[in-house]
Symmetry: C2
DNA sequence: ATTAGCACTCAAAGAGTTGGAGTGCTAACA
DNA sequence: TGTTAGCACTCCAACTCTTTGAGTGCTAAT
């Protein structure tokens, strides 16, 4: 494995990515920076094929990179990712939105922008609420026997749900209940809102106020919502526009996209490239996925990435993903400069069950 | 145009829908209920072609229905739509969900079910909030200089948004502001929340409390959200699985699906079938769309429908759409049995600007 | 009015042919 | 020993030619 063979491998990958056609020795030999004859290139290519980095669709065709070939290219050969200043500015514009920027909106914009820029499907899995604390619980009368329960986190996430009760509550009952909720939930880390803890809460409650069961149930549901990884998915269309992906597999993939969450979150920090090579998996064959985590403060709180054909201009798209994950990290970390709340509260018991 | 010709047209449509292949005279002649020879069928088919109800892909192929042919079939020939009891039960199960049923959830379930049942894309455009009144406006402190504004309608829709202020509000200011909002917005019909009215409100406010501008802006945004038609779209995949639709057109269509709103809502009451025949439109060529309005009380408050290939088992899918639109009408009308609120309030002025 | 019979049409599928891009191998060369 | 020109070989892709058969329209008989 000498310098020249690596150069030829890189050239084959880039040429194939550019044209989509198997690449022959003549084309490679004519490329600037190679400087040897087609015959020599042929010898090297035969070697690269033996080593498993290239393959031939059929005898009289050019060479195409194998998955192993792509891996080597991405990890060692590719020109190191960089993003010129003007590009950065364009990306910043795509992230921005008129009006104030919420975390949710930021993630949506990033996903949409990523899909547009790369012509791939883009996906973000966000589990940042897990690292915030409940900052406010409210119960709001909203009509006859209808109440809205509202959960607000220190991270700015808001969840609400309306619940129907059997009876109307008196102001006194409402105050009592609100107080109980505030005392037991405000300041508690979202990650600590285990089903178990919520059940304990329900149990402690129910002895006193059976009528409020639907409200408690509502709050349980909201807390489950908060703990769940929120998946944002854009650019399905781009997958369908892509010749080398099987339409049926795309359909199956989109139907199972929830399974992506575990895949996305299993990745470690830094940029990671995965290939769709296992035909049993829900992942599309011949596809590749490029993922990066983003952080909030010290924690990884989400993953963002793109899914596209294996034949992808990695040198172009990886910088986008790097830039966006860094940008999101910066933006959401800065906005939470405010005190991180009461911190982790591992107490699973309740305080002061009301006696209404 | 005699009885038999109509019977033959119907048979061609049904046979073509079943097989996807152009239908020849022999097949039709062999069908039970025809009872004439292939030659006779041929004569009739030639006539039907002259009249514009059938066409031939090429000289030596069978016949295929034209758009006009489908229209006649749907309007006159098709066996009248009906749904056996067991089917109804199945549909009811698909509409249901564990846990309490909100209007939003109902619409989501219906859209998903429709997409699954018909193997088409399903769409619902809901503008029911326009016919409800604001039942509650709340401003909730949610952190340092952060406030959540909350709008609840009599129809059960809830919208929230967090806003960042320059300064923290005193309790007094908050009460004053809440009172002002309650007085000016609660009981007002959502349809009356014109931009103009909101601007007047803002103007009346701003003289007194410039600091609260972001909150007012937030409320304006929420009210715009409420007035907008909410589009629910499911089963894109099904479109891509469909041979006779052009993939590129599907992509274009999905990218422009917002334009559907006007198309959906322009339809009149009752079931309506539209065909994608205009190549300039964003609608997919060779597609058909079946739409029905649903009501809440006396108003049409939304449209639901499916989009699929023109070659569609209309006799099978139309009952689904009819049933769902009726069911949604029933469910959302029943749950709003409660008094319809203060009714239309056409007063666009303000009351009692606070003097804080 | 209906039907059997027949000549006609034409897309689709298969068989044979050709062209050319690309290969591997060998022998000559630096 | 590494590189290169030359050449025979392979095999896909494109093309033509032929065949097949489903389906038609027309005509004459019933």
């Amino acid at each position: 494995m000498n310098e020249r063979k690596l150069k030829i491998l890189a050239a084959v990958v880039e040429e194939y990515v550019r044209t989509g056609e198997p690449v022959g020795s003549k084309v490679i030999a004519s490329l600037p920076g190679i400087g040897v004859s087609a015959a020599t290139v042929r010898n090297d290519m035969a070697m690269l094929e033996q080593l498993g980095f290239l393959e031939q669709p059929h005898t009289s065709a050019g060479r195409v990179p194998t998955i192993q070939g792509y891996r080597l290219y991405i990890e060692e050969l590719m020109s190191p990712p960089s993003l010129p200043g003007e590009e950065r500015q364009r990306l910043d514009e795509m992230l921005a939105s008129q009006g104030p920027m919420t975390e949710e909106l930021l993630i949506e914009n990033a996903t949409t922008a990523l899909a547009e820029l790369t012509k791939c499907a883009a996906v973000v899995s966000d589990f940042s609420p897990q690292f915030s604390v409940i900052s406010k619980v409210e119960v709001i009368p909203a009509g006859k026997r209808v109440y809205v329960v509202l959960l607000i986190t220190s991270g700015g996430a808001i969840k609400n749900k309306s619940c129907r009760l059997e009876f109307d509550l008196t102001n006194e009952q409402l105050d009592l209940f609100s107080g109980f909720l505030a005392e037991n939930l405000e300041g508690v880390s979202v990650a600590d809102l285990s089903d178990e803890r919520m059940e304990n809460l329900t149990a402690a409650m129910s002895a006193y106020m059976m009528t409020m069961a639907p409200l408690v149930e509502g709050i349980c549901e909201l807390s489950r919502d908060l703990r769940q990884h929120a998946l944002t998915f854009r650019g399905e269309n781009n997958l369908f526009s892509c010749e080398e992906l099987d339409k049926m597999e795309i359909v199956r993939f989109i139907e199972h996209k929830d399974e992506l969450v575990s895949l996305l979150d299993s990745s470690f920090s830094g940029i990671q490239v995965m290939f769709g090579e296992n035909p049993d998996s829900f992942v599309i064959g011949n596809s590749s996925m490029i993922v990066s985590k983003y952080r909030k403060g010290d924690h990884d709180v989400g993953s963002l990435g793109i899914i596209g054909p294996m034949r992808l201009d990695y040198a172009k798209v990886i910088p986008y993903i790097e830039y966006f994950s860094q940008k999101i990290t910066d933006l959401i970390s800065e906005e939470s400069e405010s005190p991180p709340g009461a911190g982790s509260d591992t107490d699973t018991g309740q305080k002061a069950p009301p006696n209404g």
